[in-house]
């Protein structure tokens, strides 16, 4: 019977798992200590993320926190673009300016979504990219509105 059990367990292992720290069984919700990866470690030699890595509590908490901050940024840009103008009546500059305002409004959600999409298993990289986006995409045009409101 012991021989049969070993064969069953073998189905959950993959050659080279010990080298990458993933010798634990790859079952949802069954991630043992041996299956844990450092936050910034490459997922595997083939580049594929380990199953369920993005569902780690730390990653989820950081992502949700940044999601709220990016939501505030988006609202700021929606309000802020109401206080900018092309400063000309030319048709082409007006169209390009409106297009620029539209892209500015979608900048924050696009930055957030793309970062989350491209960093499924790298908490450090994800947090760094999202923090960079917060700094770059601060909605300065909304500042006069905040000052008047204050």
């Amino acid at each position: 019977m012991a021989h049969i059990d070993e064969d069953d367990e073998e189905a959950f292992r993959w050659a080279g798992d010990e080298d990458t720290g993933r010798e634990g069984a790859r079952l949802p919700g069954a991630r043992g200590a041996g299956a844990q990866l450092p936050d910034d470690a490459p997922a595997a030699a083939d580049g594929a993320p380990p199953a369920g890595a993005s569902r780690r509590p730390g990653t989820a908490a950081v992502t949700i926190l940044f999601a709220l901050l990016y939501l505030v940024l988006t609202v700021g840009w929606i309000l802020g673009t109401g206080y900018t103008s092309a400063g000309t009546t030319g048709l082409l500059p007006q169209v390009l300016w409106q297009f620029g305002e539209f892209t500015a409004i979608i900048a924050a959600p696009m930055w957030f979504a793309t970062t989350v999409l491209l960093t499924p298993w790298r908490l450090g990289v994800r947090a760094g990219a999202l923090a960079l986006g917060l700094g770059v995409l601060l909605p300065w045009p909304v500042l006069p509105l905040l000052v008047v409101g204050a």
Binding site: T84, A104, A107, T114, L118, P141, L143
Partner: protein, 102 residues
Amino acid sequence: MRIVIVIVFGLLHLWALFQGVSNLIALPGFYAQSGLAAYTPWWLLVLGVLVPVAALVAAVLIGRRRMLSHRVALLVVSLATANAFVLSAGALAPILLAWQAG
């Protein structure tokens, strides 16, 4: 196909770059005529030129060896960031002037 997409997004970035260059050329003269030459926000004007270029280059470099949809997403983020920075620079300049000139 991929190079065509990069060229199209490169052309779309030109609007942000044009505004950055335009501000860099025109704003110092406007400040000088108003007697505010000492308050010219040079760092902001230079960033206005650099950001659209840097964003496009970063999107192309990060998108290498990725699938097409990810490349396009990166280029959209780059374009949106460049245009957002143009608006931010336009709003920041008078704020900086008011802050520095008291």
